[in-house]
């Protein structure tokens, strides 16, 4: 349906996006996962035709939309990361405004506004000013404003940033419902891997303007199939223990977060005995040790050497 072909974007000396390839099939929910500053927002700004790429192309049904974006814009809804609403207007007035700019009018506009208010659960608060809303309610209305013209494809840029878990669940359920009931294709960017794992059929992992990995959840996790992720909790972090781990030939990667040390080792290695031996040699007291099922977070760690939310 939509594909980005080798898109790059340079801002002066900065390479924000570096030859990104990405495609969306009709009815899919695609996740674009990466830490802050990975280039996700720039990528979706290019895909949604808001900014032109330095090179590369965006195609809708094999037709370039860079120079003629009208066809894509007609079927596209975008939920920006910012709360793109008028705080001094009510929820209803905001929706009426965004409906009007999509050339909706009269009873059709009113009906769509009612529908969307119902869908985002704000019917009871429709006459309240947006500035008096909670973060979660603002986020829901931010999504609602992109749904008025019934887009076939919706691009959501971190739609759950800074909200409580309840509102987050509501939003995630709404996205699932839109995909299931309205057959909406969704491109969802986030730096929360659990959201992407919950929602998406396929995932692109992005960092520093590059796509590092792409595929279904299982395919991506299989990147780590040859490795074990072992999480060790120590009583006190001992530098010589960390150094010894890093120097050991069977340890592929070591990351430390507070008292938790994550170690990647080859599956075939007898990791436990090696770890115990190093701990004994460096006088390190272990509190717990466990082999974890790989998560997308681990994959990201494996690919970049950094945690997703660092």
């Amino acid at each position: 349906m939509l594909e980005a072909v080798e898109i790059t974007k340079r801002f002066k000396q900065t390479h924000a996006v570096n030859g990104v390839n990405l495609f969306l099939e009709r009815g899919e929910i695609i996740g674009l996962l990466g830490p802050n500053g990975a280039g996700k927002s720039t990528t979706i700004s290019i895909i949604s035709t808001l900014i032109p790429p330095t090179s590369g192309d965006v195609r809708l049904n094999n037709e370039s939309v860079i120079k003629r974006p009208e066809k894509l814009r007609k079927i596209l809804g975008v939920v920006p990361q910012e709360i793109a609403l008028y705080p001094d207007l009510s929820a209803r007035e905001n929706l009426l405004f965004f409906g009007k700019i999509y050339r909706l009018s009269g009873s059709q506009l009113k009906q769509k506004v009612e529908e969307v208010l119902e869908m985002i659960g704000l019917t009871d608060r429709q006459h309240d000013l947006v500035k008096n809303f909670s973060g979660g309610m603002k986020r829901r209305l931010n999504i609602g404003a992109a749904l008025l013209h019934e887009p076939e494809l919706i691009i959501m840029d971190e739609p759950t940033v800074g909200i409580d878990p309840q509102s987050r669940n509501y939003i995630l359920e709404t996205v699932k419902r839109l995909n299931k009931e309205k057959k909406m294709t969704v491109l969802y960017t986030s730096h929360y891997m659990e959201e992407v794992e919950f929602l998406c059929n396929r995932i692109y992992i992005m960092d520093k303007g590059n796509i590092l990995a792409a595929g279904t959840k299982e395919e991506i996790k299989n990147i780590l199939s040859a490795e074990n992720t072992i999480q060790i909790t120590v009583e006190r972090v001992n530098d010589s223990f960390i150094q010894a781990l890093r120097d050991h030939p069977v340890v592929n990667r070591v990351t430390v977060q507070d008292r938790v040390i994550t170690v990647l080792t080859p599956k075939e290695a007898n990791a436990f005995s090696i770890l115990f031996k190093i701990a004994e040699e460096t006088n390190t007291m272990l509190t717990s040790i466990e082999i974890k099922t790989p998560t997308l977070e681990d994959v990201f760690l494996h690919l970049t050497g950094r945690a997703l939310r660092n």
């Binding site: 949604s48 035709t49 808001l50 900014i51 032109p52 814009r73 007609k74 596209l76 975008v78 920006p80 990361q81 910012e82 709360i83 793109a84 609403l85 008028y86 001094d88 207007l89 007035e93 405004f97 965004f98 009007k100 700019i101 999509y102 050339r103 000013l129 404003a145 992109a146 013209h149």
Partner: protein
Amino acid sequence: MIGVLTAKLRLFIRKPWLFLMVSILSVVFAMLISSVNKQTIVVPVYSALPESEVKEIIRSLEQYNLFSFKRMKKEEVEKLVGEGKAEAGVELKKDDFRIIVASNTPNSYLVQQTVQKVYAKALQSKSIIDQVKEKQGESSAKQVAKSLAEAKNDPVFTVETKHFRADETVIINSKMQSIFGSVLFFVIYTIAYNVFNILMEKRNGIWDRMILSPVKKWEMYTGNLIYSFATGYIQVALIFAVFHFVFDVDFSDKFWFVLVLLIPYVLAIVAISIFIVGIVNNEQQFHAVLPLVSVSMAMLGGAYWPLEIVSSDALLLLSKFVPVTYGMDLLKGAVVYGYSFSDLLYPMSILFLMAVVFMGLGINIMERKRA
């Protein structure tokens, strides 16, 4: 575009405070400045005459609108003059007066002339009545006194005074200067803050939503600019209407003409605001740049003081590059100098030119920044 305008109107109704505040400030400042400018010099007087006679003399003295005369005790008058707090004092007598001065100043001469004029007129009437009384008796004298009083109220001849001036002669009308200056200065804020909303809408993503909608970019800009122009224009027109219809300020029968002349000025300010919004990157920069630009423009353009009193060639040259200069030229030209529409075509064309150039530059910069 209608959608954009409707939303702006709704937002205005919900938050009219900036508009109201700036409007009130403009009126207050214009009144304050003009009242300071028109303050008259108080001349202390004392007299041994009865209160009613002194009042009558003071009324005659104040007819010339040059000084305000205030009756005090002799000691107070002498103290004020002695301490230099009053330039001159006057002792009012039945057929004579005495000027009290500490040193001779232009104003003390003027006080003397004014008092002399009033006493000369009074003595002239008295002398006529006395002569009639002496030759024709009391009743004829009363008749003559009555006729003289009637003639004062209903003169036989109407004397029309006309001043002539050369082309280069300047007229300083401090009241109109302060009204026009204050209004043209303050409206910059109303307009600029409305245009500034474009920057805010860009920052919070509303602009992006509109770009992705079927609304055309020219409609987005036009909607915003029409709104900014309309609020600025309505504000200025409203303030002038308050001065004209409520405070009875004389616009020399050119009130409606003045409203037409405001169009190019407001348009130029909208354009400069777009330019400022184009060059700044964030809210903080805008808040720093706007006062800098507006105050400089007001100072250079003669909103704070008349350019007629500026003698520096450098400042006069700089004033040619700010729209306030031409705005003041238009308004003063029409009201104070009585120029016709064709006489004012030059400042109008400059303002239109500024509007086109700054709007073009501003929109261009904004669009380049986007890409």
